[in-house]
Symmetry: C2
Subunit: 281 residues, 2 copies
């Protein structure tokens, strides 16, 4: 895989749009402080991404906390106040959004994997994100893989507003696909979230507020001074080179593997990143 990455041309990489990129700065136990980078997916959830951008611009999450860490499932952040307390005002964000569990498959550039999948008629990549598709139903949706970020909701399908977000930290919970609005994917810094102590309360919520992990800020990259921006680039998922990379993972040909699998699951496909060259950006 390393050889394929090294052979990549400039055109095999893309720089996420700073207007679709969140920087989440967390203060956890040293040396785990740092920046988590999330790429937003307006292609799949335009309304929710719109709200998320508003929350970031207006500093909604600044000073809030990561309040849930459930082993082999999700880490979640948002307003730490209880259900029975008044929450922080949403500012200019919309109070009510439609559920965006899926979108029309028509008009979406979908790069399908040939591999069978138990959860979806087809799986592959769209707009750089792992996704499922059912052309019979005419729908496509983002898949819940490691690093996928979604909008927490209550029982009602349209009860999410994007203020409460979670990220998958364990085995892909694909049963959530088409049941919740996915807003993006962590492209750097997963290891800052995945190591957080698990909460001892129901669903992994921290029982003692002292356990909350403070969020210093969540900002759009486009609103951060250029000198403070990350130069992260993501490998394109719609190229011949990416197909080659997937095949190298589907059938491992190095000396360690004695029996190549001949298969890969959507959520086992790595999407490489690199630090871009400041001159080239």
């Amino acid at each position: 895989m390393q050889e394929i990455i090294e052979a990549a041309a400039e055109s095999d990489w893309r720089t996420p749009d700073p207007d679709n990129t969140l920087y989440m700065e967390i203060d956890s136990a040293a040396p785990d402080s740092g920046r988590v980078i999330i790429e937003l997916a307006p292609t799949f959830a335009p309304e929710h991404v719109g709200n998320v951008r508003t929350f970031a611009r207006e500093g909604y999450w600044d000073g809030m906390a990561i309040k849930r860490s459930q082993d082999n499932f999700v880490v979640q952040w948002g307003d730490p106040r209880g259900e029975d307390e008044e929450g922080k005002p949403l500012g200019s964000a919309k109070a009510k959004l439609p559920a965006e569990f899926s979108r029309a498959s028509k008009g979406l550039d979908f790069h399908a994997l040939p591999d069978p999948d138990g959860w979806a008629a087809e799986v592959g990549f769209a707009a750089g994100f792992p996704a499922g598709r059912d052309t019979g139903e005419g729908l496509a949706w983002m898949a819940h893989c490691y690093g996928t970020v979604g909008a927490g909701r209550n029982i009602e399908a349209d009860s999410s507003d994007g203020s409460e977000l979670y990220v998958v930290i364990g085995q892909s919970p694909r049963q959530l696909d088409r049941n919740i609005t996915v807003v993006g994917r962590v492209i750097e810094g997963m290891e800052l979230l995945s190591v957080l102590p698990r909460g001892s309360g129901p669903l992994g919520f921290y029982e003692d507020p002292a356990q909350y992990v403070p969020i210093r800020s969540i900002r759009l990259a486009s609103e951060v001074p250029e000198a403070e921006r990350s130069l992260l680039q993501v490998m394109r998922t719609d190229t011949a080179l990416f197909d080659e990379l997937v095949e190298a993972r589907r059938n491992r040909r190095d000396d360690f593997y004695k029996r190549p699998a001949g298969h890969i699951d959507l959520c086992n496909v790595p999407i490489p990143t690199r630090q871009g060259n400041p001159q080239a950006l």
Copy 2:
């Protein structure tokens, strides 16, 4: 799911054989110290499990360390000495073992899932462990799911001796199935391992020995005084009740889920545990 667990009869639970149960006591940053419980799988890897029992009996791992934590992949422990240093003597354990990547499917009580799987002809449970089977080839093997414990090896298929063990902490790396010897599964305490800081060296090895997580001891439950044993019981995977539980996860019928998946992946099936009643044991 909770209702199904509560409806379980005594006969739906089993108590792992203390001779196939390891207690790994680790000293990580408080409050993460504690006991990890591993159930060994002699049904699948009798030779490796034999060595593991010997290592535990002779205190081979006591004072050793967890030395690798690779995000979304594995945590690994064993002798922290480098490849070029002389390792700790193996004691009465065998220096050379055969690769035990799979076993004959004949004679194995295999409880198959109806769900399709991309990695194996069939998947299901055997001896309480998630497993794959190919009756055409006449083989069965343990699957790499969250919590699966395997024996690290070098390039040669038969280069593992069971002294170096890893546990899966991320998305199921099923490409390892049939490529490495699996010795068991963590049945309690995963959250003590999954939160360990990721190593910054290649493959997630800790670069600074100060980062090593000390192993106080690894013992067979059968060699620990009864008063210090855990009363953990594991749900049987070959019962009608377990089928019911799998179905409840395959098609979630609670108010939250708007569209039941109609499918479950092997590694998404939870195997419940409970604290047994000391009187009943």
